[in-house]
Amino acid sequence: MTLLNVERLSIGYPRRVIASDISLDVAAGQAIAILGPNGSGKTTLFRTVLGLLAPRAGRVLLDGKSITTLSAPEIARQIAYVPQNSAGLFNFSVLEVVEMARAPHLSWFSQPGAVDRAIAAVSLSQVGMGEFIDREFSELSGGERQLVMIARALASQAKYLLLDEPTASLDFGNRLLVLETLIKLKQRGMAVVFTTHDPDHARRVCSESRDQTLTISRAGQVSIGPTADALQSKALAALYGIDQSVFSAQR
């Protein structure tokens, strides 16, 4: 059984620890939502798990090995990252963008070949973007770009998918499309970890008993549990520092 274990991890920068004592086990076919106010360290947690930022304390284990002992390509072959709003600055085609995920599988001086191209094409059709393969990435809508970025993560053939606010700045339809895609990927056996500002998105994707929701408060307090518990109005009120009566007024 392959696992991604986060053990008593402290995240942050040399002079500022943002959150500490984060423990988390991620298994195949599991979805984990991460909620927390702006600046609570959700992206920092991702950067630390990806090995881009050194842990302040604790460790991240990938199949039992600390990621600090693994090379960057070794990590990239296991954990894929979908960043928030990737802007298309240059005119790369959709295929070229997805092919970039083959980088950790290729040596420094080689080019993606027919196999890599096929993997990229398959990944695109897995998220329903097969028809867009020859389009220019910068010409796509926000929702289409997000799906292409998810396809790129798939093309790296990683088992763990980290998505940073995959539904941010998308319209209603595209949000549902991205959430449905995440559910499908989970059902296909990938581990899906994503941050969101919307508790409903966490409820939607992390609805099964094995799924979990992690919350990080502004003060760096971390708790993890079944989604329904983590997203009770009392817990949410504490997390975002608002009065619980706001929720009862809403319902």
Binding site: R47, A72, I75, L89, F109, R117
Partner: protein, 379 residues
Amino acid sequence: MANPACCQNSATPFPWCKTRSPTHSVSTSTSIPAITNTGTARVAAIHTLAIAMAVGMVLVALSVGRFPISIGELFSLLGAKLYGGTTNAPENADLVLFSIRGPRIVAAFAVGAALAAAGAAYQNLFRNPLVSPDILGVSSGAALGAVLGIMMALPIVAIQGLAFIGGLAAVAAIYLIGNSLVSKHGGHDPVLTLVLAGVVIGSLLGSGIALTKYLADPYNQLPAITYWLLGSFASITKSDLAVALPIIIIATVPLAALRWRINLLALPDDEARALGQDTSRLRLTVIIAATLMTAASVAICGIVGWVGLVVPHAVRLLVGAEFSRLLPLAMLIGGTFMLLVDTVGRSIAQIEVPPGVLTAALGAPVFIWLMAATFRRAR
């Protein structure tokens, strides 16, 4: 689990795709979309055209000038050189062709290709299509070195050497400052830090150049300094080429070998690193290669602006941003463009028009046209 295997088993398209765009529904039988090759034929046609233009431009440049050589004489001279025998060409045509015009043409083409290659790599690296090869101060450093050499009345070889070293030193200083700032205070964008360090050091070097000009002898040194700062291919010799050309070729090798991987630098740093790319090592490699080729160019012909900015930008609009497609075409068109500018510059008027002036005069309108083209595409 491997994705291709897993999706062959579960190839059913997602139902919501159909509701989303009925005309674009994914075929149910296969999950691999066809990759059409419409772009490849176009790129091949553009390559053929570019090669034809380059060859044509070289022939024109060989024949045009104060001492005109007809195309027929040209071929007979080339034949005589290669296979021996006599020619019907006028006396001294041989000397003009092989000792004066030939090296100059090779230099102009090589410098244009080098500046375009460096510009293309830098535009990717700095994730900005408006960046030129001298953003990290290579030109300012080289200019200060050359200007100091002129002030000290050193021989030409020493001035060229100082220019080359000055260019390398400026880039090294900027890289080290930027890098130490980022490594001391983590979490900042290394590329932006480099640009800012470049702005600061570049302006410092600029004031050094200004001071030297102010102190220079206005009758001898100042014209020489101005001449150098505008760039010129007029005094290129075979021995200049013998040093600069190998440096340019050697520096092109890493850019060509890493042509696919350089694409990753166009991504935000975190994104590229999350794809397993050691960005700082790749960035340093690209910076060293681009700096070597630019410094070698600037050392033999002075500062010629615009080529490294406009040519890669235009080529990207033609064939897209993918660096393995961008690099060869940018070098070909950059060389041709520089040769055109130099040929026009030496034949249009009684005096030679410095290429730096002509590239600006041509580059500015071309650039505005490119901006308009970009805006049209964006709509």
